[in-house]
Symmetry: C2
Subunit: 590 residues, 2 copies
């Protein structure tokens, strides 16, 4: 009798699966590399009419078989983010995601995972829910490059001797029988397609179905030659049923002593087959051995070799999205080991207003962006001068030409060129200063500034004079905003937070830049010599101060006793009343 051969199963992981794996690894599993259950979907095989012109003009009709695949998709981790493929059968599987490429490459580490799956299968055979066709997926995800090393296995237990068919092998099944069978499947409540394989017996109204584990009882009244099983068959081959049949037959033989049974291969359209399979007479495998049964089933790669494959998502992903994920990656990795409790979302959603787009402003913006802050607004009234780019790390030489670009707008533009995912805004605006002549736009400037404070959560004071910090200090206090102040000397710097209450409980206010001053802020810009006008600093001071300011900001955000978002705990005048008062103050001091 001809030896029964099985059509190997092929895998088809979708791009959305790799994306889901990335999130799973990054946000959930982190360094946990234990074996994890995942869900896949198996498609039935089908034949389609070949409309290729070569045959069409001869009036010849040909059919092409298309095997179904084992699909793992974006819903593999149980998230209902994606519908399963139409007419597909759910298949449970196991994921072993290694932490390092070296582990992934080791033969032993993969064999251990494979053996563990076989063990789980064999263990399940003693239950009424035997695991018959699990898949194993071993992976190494290089989340930095969006490349995924992977290897699927469809473990099949080896039967000795091998199964045989009858002389005629598998033949087309009677379409009306298949249709009646499918009707029965659909009728089983709660099961879309019930199990991947099941027992069937003909009854007057059609078919009765039963689980494989109930073989004895189900067929107790059925003559041997009327016992049939059906399975959803991914093969489209006329001769070879698909791979899942292997373990079904192994299980039936080992657990139910079945050595001859009729098999219906359920396939799409008219491709279904049926045939009788049997074990030849002779010595049989010892079902009760303590050792694990032999199993095969590592998938071959595109070249037919036993080898892992590589999925490269980077080339097919939207680059902007890639950049966003890459930036998040660096931050999320902090949660794996060094700072598991850090609330990155809190940082990401904090809207930052940067007053001053000079040396400090550029460095602060870069640091905020590196921390995942997505909303950054620049305020500056100046233009980019030739001395700026070497010290102000958002500007280029070209920005100095033709009189110089507006600093605020240019900084926002360059920030987007660094990272398109940032929402960078800009306002060309002079901050009203006590002691200085009031500009004709004073009232609109002030209104804009007050509005900007309302629209942001944290404000950075990054200007180059003392008096320009006064008004923002007052507005910040009145609105209960977190205000971070940074200022440079030649080889010194100051970084401090300003005064919203420490928490909802401790409402005592912190100090501000002007708290201990013995003189009111006044015009310090007039009569300055050139070396006092340009901020003459050691170049290293600004990046240190800016980084310190941003680290302070992040630290305060993370401290449970840190920044309170409740603005009305402060005993400052309400904002609606503030504006006329401020006008008066500025005019008085001017």
């Amino acid at each position: 009798m001809p030896v029964l051969q099985f059509q190997p199963l092929t895998s088809r992981p979708t791009a959305s699966f790799w994306s889901a794996l990335t999130s799973y690894k990054l946000d959930k599993a982190k360094l946990d590399d234990s074996i994890q259950s995942i869900e896949g979907w198996m498609e039935e095989g089908r034949t389609i009419q070949d409309t290729d012109a070569t045959f069409a003009h001869q009036g010849d009709e040909r059919f092409i078989g298309i095997d179904g695949s084992l699909v793992v998709a974006g819903n593999a981790f149980g998230d209902d983010i994606e519908k399963p493929p139409l007419k597909s059968i759910p298949v449970g599987g196991f994921l072993k995601n290694f932490n390092t490429i070296e582990e992934f490459r080791q033969v032993d580490s993969k064999r251990i995972a494979f053996d563990r799956v076989v063990e789980l299968m064999v263990e399940s055979f003693s239950t009424d829910k035997p695991i018959l066709n699990p898949f194993l997926l071993v992976t190494f995800a290089d989340l930095k490059r969006y490349t995924y090393h992977y290897w699927f296995a469809f473990p099949a237990l080896v039967t000795k001797p091998v199964w045989e068919t009858e002389e005629q092998g598998f033949t087309p099944a009677d379409p009306s029988e298949v249709e009646a069978l499918r009707d029965s499947i659909t009728g089983v409540p709660g099961n879309r397609l019930t199990d991947a394989a099941f027992l069937i017996k003909k009854i007057p109204s059609g078919f009765e179905l039963g689980p494989l584990s109930a073989y004895g009882e189900f067929f107790s009244q059925t003559p041997l030659d009327q016992r049939s099983i059906a399975f959803h068959d991914p093969s489209s081959s006329g001769e070879h049923p698909g791979w899942p049949l292997r373990n079904v037959l192994y299980y039936l033989f080992v657990k139910h002593n079945v050595d001859r049974v009729r098999v219906i291969c359920l396939r799409e359209g008219t491709a279904s087959r049926h045939g009788i399979v049997q074990l030849p007479v002779g010595p049989r495998i010892q079902s009760q051995s303590q050792d694990l049964p032999s199993a095969v089933g590592w998938e071959r790669d595109g070249n037919g070799k036993l080898s892992s494959r590589l999925a490269d998502l980077a080339s097919s992903m939207d680059p902007t999205r890639l950049a966003e994920q890459a930036v998040d990656l660096n931050l999320k990795l902090m949660k794996w080991r060094v700072m598991p409790t850090i609330d990155l979302q809190k940082i990401a959603r904090t809207k930052c207003l940067l007053l001053g787009a000079g040396t400090l402003g550029c460095y602060v913006a870069r640091n905020l962006m590196a921390w995942g802050v997505r909303n950054i607004t620049f305020v500056d009234s100046g233009t980019v001068s030739f001395s700026n780019p070497v010290r102000q790390p958002l500007f280029l030489f070209d920005d100095c030409l033709n009189g110089g670009a507006d600093k605020a707008h240019c900084a926002a533009k360059r920030l987007r060129q660094v990272f398109p995912g940032v929402n960078a805004n800009s306002f060309k605006l002079a901050i009203p200063m006590p002691g200085h002549r009031a500009s004709p736009q004073l009232e609109t400037d002030l209104a804009t500034l007050v509005d900007l404070f309302h629209e942001h959560d944290a404000v950075f004071l990054l200007m180059d004079s003392r008096e320009s910090r006064w008004l923002p200090t007052v507005i910040g206090a009145s609105q209960g905003k977190m205000v971070i102040n940074a200022a440079l000397g030649f080889d010194t710097y100051l970084v401090m937070r300003h005064g919203p209450p420490r928490s909802a409980v401790n409402t005592s206010r912190l100090g501000c830049y002007f708290c201990n001053d013995v003189v009111a802020p006044a015009d310090s810009l007039t009569d300055r010599t050139l070396d006092q006008m340009c901020t003459v600093t050691r170049p290293g001071v600004a990046p240190i101060a800016a980084a310190t300011a941003v680290e302070l900001f992040v630290t305060i955000l993370q401290n449970p006793l840190g920044w309170s978002t409740v603005p009305h705990l402060v005993d400052a005048p309400a904002v609606v009343e503030l504006s006329p008062k401020l006008f008066a103050m500025i005019r008085f001091i001017s």
Copy 2:
């Protein structure tokens, strides 16, 4: 008799003068704003034939007068960088360069400078070198914007009553007389054109010349009506002699009681004039008054108003050169007040090799450039990935596309876009590491690296693994280079200098990164999980470490006991011997 009127003198400061003023202020005067002697040049007036078509077709001939100007040029500060204009007369002047625009704008501050010049003139009248036609230039140089506020004055002492001419006024001088006179001037040894004004008397061989201060003796034998003076006249007017004549006449009257004299106005070509001037009978100014005599002479602007002018050099300068000067400016201003002894040239000429063009490399390069370092070479074997730009401040999102640009080359390119004056080079090169598989290019890579060390003065170790620092540490020690090492932890960093001798005197070597290690450097990269592969750091740590490294570098350069440039004081093997030895060591450890 007609009143004698004078053609006002006009100033013409050249672009090279503003450039010289910039250097003078920045490098020499700094905050010193005392009055400074400068040199100018006066041109004689001339007439040229008008070739305008309007007149040409009528056969009519017209002449256009072109007044000479008072030119101040690049040689105003006595540097022989520029020849004086041809046929021009040297004129001594005074510069008052204010430190602030506010001082410049004050009326009083300018009057004080003007009065001081008048005082100097009057004082000089008692000597044999009277200062007769000094100019005063008051300026405020905004070196940041390359704009120069300025105002010339040509102080002229007021004679009461005013001088008059004879009825016919000034008439064309006899060309042969002028020619003979010029011959006499040329004959005076050591004087190109002798004084701006001088006494002349006719002698048989031509003319005899004398200084104004010798009026009495020179003309003791000369009848009153044969006494003449000549002066180089910037005017081209037929009626009006030029402004310099005012003070000449004032001086002759006050010091030598001259109230009638023949004047020859020396001009170019055939434009010279002559005429007799005299004081009318009546009350005269009191020459012996203690008060300063009245003086006038502030130049009017292009609109005829008494107002300062503005020279804007920025629009006409080469932008690249502008950027270079602007970068230098910020540094040179340190020398004005906070750090007068800093040797910026030593920093500028130090060639820096950056091993690693990642987060540290980018920040270090920017800091070096801000300190004026002009030669920066990057070494990196990697490409720009999507997570890089937000943390590595030379890269843009576009650099990640198409697989990512080579980091070293890209960093050099972006550095030039920030500042075209930088000489940025790059090598895509993997640094051989102990414990790692030796690459096929090991020998050429090593040779390149050794060469690069030779070609640079300071080397920054900015890689992301311990073992990659080993070989550069050894090469650096063998060549006696300054090696600065920076390394990042999550919220920690290390910045240190490596081992060349502290000075030529103290030759004991400093330690290095590996000095206190109990284990040899080995492969620490294999088997690292993702969060160990990516440098997971608080984003603020890198800019702080990079800035600290560069400040350390600068500080060592400035310390007289700091970095010795003598490489052969170290007791390391000579470099020619080193390479085979290194090979052996790397191969041994690998």
